[in-house]
């Protein structure tokens, strides 16, 4: 990234030479994905992409542009900047526009790539999928899944700063799904994420899948009467709920525009909004992105502390300028952490302690908000919905639909497990950018409205 930083420094000087303000962000990815469906590799893909995102400000006028230039050509980038400069005068003024924030000086650029673990042939990845397929051979299952690995990075400079900052790192994520052909096409899933693909523990993946395989093939499937149930959510489901809640509740942009469930007109920092058992924070951890791709330092920050609202994440410059608020983080590279509690730390203990009728949901599929104002959402369970009672697993269930609100759900927490897990929520719309939520393995919530099931379809 040294050459890229030097290139950005040159472009920065070019902007200054034109008496212009500006900010330039370079992003890149070298991303691989091996996908499996119907017990065979269905896709084996590598994509190499790079992009220069340029903002130019002239007084109270601002224009943005992006150029994918794999050759990192200074001349081509200058030409692109020149074209932008020519258009900027046609723009009307935006009175609230403010200066770019100087990059923090105390951080050195970070290269997280471990060359000893970096070189991975897609053949090695294919082997992981094959090993899992071989373990379940003869059991009438169809394996699907994907393993994604790669490196990505960014570098940023603006005219308030002298030297560009860069970060690059690597990450992997995987998910394997087995469909049980002789058992009504029931599904089981395992997922994992981290920095180095070579750290993947195949035995643990197989063991996890086998546990669910045995449950699903040795117990009967039941249907639930739609009503309120006490529910234990697994880590994947918890991470999904935290991510959605954060999107509509913790982003400063939605607070300022009053488009989410917390609005500046009716909620203030310090207000108690959730159960005192709930704490959510952000800090650079696994991926060590101390400065985000917006050039803002990502300090450790409490969002929810013991149920009280502590902070909002302000990432977007345009919104912050509009409302005269300072950017305080970069939400897209956050590593949210939900604090653990004192509850059961294994599935076995969850079962043992489920004396009353309890539904266990491992994963939530296709969540969406039905009313952002009220934090209301819906989604269905998938890959492992179990009925627990009298300290025993009573059987597994059809996928069920939940209609609830985060405001109610996170005020009805009974316990949070003491064990935690890092759950991958990266997607690859746009450039590769790892996104992980650290959350408890289990959480028990009372009176969750179950409104239907796939059995009724």
């Amino acid at each position: 990234m040294k050459e890229v930083r030097e290139l950005l420094n040159s472009l920065n000087e070019y902007l200054k030479g034109h008496q212009l303000d500006g900010e330039i962000l370079y992003t890149y990815e070298e991303s691989n994905l091996v996908r499996c469906g119907r017990n065979q590799i269905s896709l084996n893909n590598q994509q190499v992409r790079n992009n220069f995102e340029i903002s130019i400000k002239k007084g109270k006028r601002e224009i943005q542009g992006s150029l994918a230039d794999a050759n990192h050509s200074l001349d081509k980038l200058k030409e692109f900047i020149d074209e932008m400069i020519q258009k900027i005068d046609y723009l009307p003024e935006t009175p609230f526009l403010k200066d770019y924030t100087p990059l923090p000086k105390s951080f050195k650029s970070l290269d997280q790539i471990d060359l000893s673990k970096r070189h991975i042939k897609s053949e090695e990845v294919v082997q992981v999928l094959k090993i899992i397929g071989t373990f379940f051979e003869g059991k009438e299952v169809e394996q699907s899944g994907a393993i994604s690995f790669g490196k990505s990075g960014y570098a940023i400079i603006n005219t308030e700063s002298e030297n560009a900052f860069s970060w690059q790192g690597e990450d992997y994520n995987l998910e394997i799904v087995l469909q049980l052909l002789n058992d009504n096409n029931k599904e089981i899933r395992v997922a994992d994420a981290g920095t180095h693909f070579k750290d993947v523990k195949i035995k643990e993946l197989v063991s996890s899948l086998n546990r669910d395989y045995l449950i699903k093939t040795s117990s009967s499937r039941k249907d639930l009467v739609p009503k309120k149930y006490d529910v234990v959510f697994g880590a994947d489901a918890i991470a999904e709920m935290i991510a959605y809640m954060a999107w509509v509740g913790l982003k400063g942009e939605s607070y300022l525009f009053e488009s989410g469930m917390f609005k500046k007109s009716n909620v203030s920092l310090g207000d108690k909004v959730f159960s005192p058992l709930l704490s959510i924070s952000d800090a650079p951890q696994l991926f060590k992105r101390e400065i985000g791709p917006n050039g803002i330092q990502r300090k450790a920050m409490d969002f929810i502390k013991n149920g009280s609202l502590e902070n909002f994440a302000y990432s977007n410059k345009a919104t912050c300028d509009r409302f005269d608020v300072k950017q305080n983080t970069h939400f897209g590279t956050s590593e949210l952490t939900m604090e653990s509690g004192v509850g059961p730390n294994s599935f076995g203990k969850v079962v043992d302690e489920s004396i009353e009728e309890t539904v266990y949901i491992s994963y939530l599929h296709y969540m969406n908000f039905t009313n952002k104002n009220l934090g209301e959402f819906t989604g269905t369970s998938r890959f492992g919905t179990y009925l627990l009672e009298k300290g025993e697993l009573q059987g597994h269930l059809h996928n069920i639909r939940i209609n609830d609100s985060f405001l109610r759900l996170f005020n009805n927490i009974q316990w949070i497990s003491s064990s935690t897990k890092a759950v991958n929520l990266s997607n690859s719309y746009g450039m590769r950018s790892p996104y992980i939520i650290h959350c408890p393995e289990y959480i028990r919530i009372l009176d969750v409205p179950i409104t239907g099931s796939s059995a009724q379809a």
């Binding site: 469906g37 896709l43 190499v48 992009n51 992006s66 046609y90 094959k130 796939s454 379809a457």
Partner: protein, 485 residues
């Protein structure tokens, strides 16, 4: 560039591959303008170029893409290596169904190229349209314009050579405000296309197509005082934006053949439809006629040819309620016929598409349309409804993993009592199970009510691909639907 691409194809085939294709995006250009409360919120432009190489080796796919054209050969080698490693874990050899070979061009029909319109003029038009949404009770209003231009060259080892020059115009208007219960309410409108005109700046100048600010303003004002949508079972009338969503989620995705076969299980999910259902399953009432039509003019889903080089086709999916076909590609129909041990699908439906040069094509909707019916226009359908709810503009959608059930929320609803619109209701939602819902379709609007909706962000696949497509849909009525819950 094209000569170089041909040499690369030859290299790949000489090295043992049975098939290869290259898609070169010589230009992938976008321009975006957003105005908010009378000011320019964003003006951005982007430019990219790159290529993707797909290789079939011993019945398995490999793919690699790059943006540096100096890396053509190394990228081809990588695609070949990826295919070779894929072949180490294979159950059935991938075979491509035959296709007709074309050497042809496809251009979007355009009257005024929006990239040629001065920035100042574009901003002024958006500010003019946005200003119509101004009201003292509203806190935010906005207008957005996204323009996309792509120049693509496709070449494959079977001899196809296709040049595409594609233009898409995406635009929207919106406003929001607090209602009497301190809840945010919104109204929005997104530019539809008209198959009888063209795609270009003319769409944004057209009052019929895009100047809908006054209507939206009045509807939002009504929403601010509106009661909440009641919980009840009643007849449900879907206006085009909601019909597009309903069709998209519960017909379109359910009938993607790769999904039916199980290739999307680990991510997006499966389908309640099985191979045995084709020609047998009653998917909806006998008023339901649906098709995957890659030939509809002016839709972002019509690109002339898919990324298998198959020419756009108009494929009936559901005829008088009976399921007859799927959204298909060359690979999947061969595989499905082999799996079913009979010929269900006779040819590729031309629906194998990739988001960009860096993505492998997979089965994607092109234009999943519902044929207009004979039950009159919207007014006629309202007149024939005793107790109903009319809804428009999706705000939320959640669908079961096999597309077997759904829960949707909308921006606005109108309660219908005794054949007349009684009042506006806020936060309308409805839910159902897919097959019973389509079987409850009892009134299908005529061609006057039919509209070609554009979709720009349909997500599917890994790595995720956001696809552009269309839905030509009439206004429809469904009996006895659970709403408000």
């Amino acid at each position: 560039m094209q000569k170089e691409a041909k040499k690369i194809i030859e290299f790949i085939i000489e090295n043992g591959a049975s098939y290869a294709d290259i898609r070169i995006f010589t230009k992938d250009q976008k321009e975006s303008i957003q105005v908010l409360n009378g000011e320019v919120e964003q003006l951005s432009q982007s430019l990219a170029a790159g290529y993707g190489i797909r290789v079939l080796y011993k019945g398995s796919w490999g793919f690699a893409s790059h943006e540096n054209f100096d890396n053509f050969l190394s990228t081809a080698k990588l695609a070949l290596e990826n295919a070779q490693s894929s072949s180490l874990y294979r159950q059935d050899e991938i075979k491509l169904a035959p296709k007709k070979i074309f050497k042809q061009n496809f251009n979007t029909q355009t009257e005024i190229d929006p990239f040629e319109v001065p920035i100042k003029e574009k901003i002024e038009r958006l500010l003019f349209l946005e200003d119509k949404l101004k009201h003292s009770k509203f806190d935010y209003r906005g207008a957005s314009l996204n323009l996309y231009k792509r120049e693509i060259f496709y070449l494959d080892s079977e001899g196809a050579e296709i040049n595409k020059n594609l233009l898409d115009v995406e635009a929207g208007l919106w406003a929001n405000a607090f209602d009497s219960n301190s809840q945010k309410q919104s109204r929005s409108y997104y530019l539809p296309q008209d198959p009888n005109t063209s795609v270009g700046w003319e769409n944004i100048l057209s009052d019929t197509q895009f100047n809908h600010g006054d209507r939206l303003k009045n509807e939002l004002l009504s929403l601010l005082e509106a009661p909440k949508c009641p919980e009840e079972v009643c007849d449900l009338i879907l206006l085009p934006e909601m019909m597009a969503l309903q069709t998209h989620e519960t017909i379109g995705h359910a009938l993607e053949l790769d999904r039916i076969l199980g290739y999307e299980l680990s991510y997006a999910g499966g389908s309640h439809v099985s191979l045995q259902d084709f020609g047998k399953l009653t998917f909806g009432s006998n008023k339901l006629n649906a098709r995957a039509d890659g030939t509809v003019k002016n839709s972002p889903g019509s690109e002339g040819f898919d990324d298998d080089g198959v020419i756009g086709k108009n494929i009936p999916l559901i005829e008088k309620g009976l399921l007859v076909n799927a959204i298909t590609s060359r690979q999947m129909i061969t595989e499905a016929n082999a799996k079913a041990n009979k010929k269900i699908f006779s040819e590729s439906g031309g629906a194998n598409r990739a988001q960009s040069y860096y993505s492998l094509p997979i089965e994607r909707m092109n234009n999943i349309n519902i044929d207009p019916g004979n039950d009159g226009n919207l007014e006629d359908i309202i007149k024939n409804t005793k107790n109903g709810l009319l809804v428009e503009a999706p705000t939320s959608w959640s669908i079961g993993s096999n597309r077997e059930n759904f829960h949707f929320a909308c921006e606005i609803g109108w309660k219908i009592i005794d054949g007349k619109i009684s009042h506006v209701v806020a936060n309308p939602t409805y839910r159902g199970d897919s097959l019973p819902f389509w079987k409850s379709l009892d009134l299908v609007g005529n061609s006057e009510s039919w509209q070609l909706q554009q979709v720009f962000y349909c997500g599917k696949g890994q790595p995720n691909q956001a696809m552009r497509l269309g839905h030509g849909v009439p206004v429809c009525r469904f009996k006895n639907v659970q709403v408000g819950k």
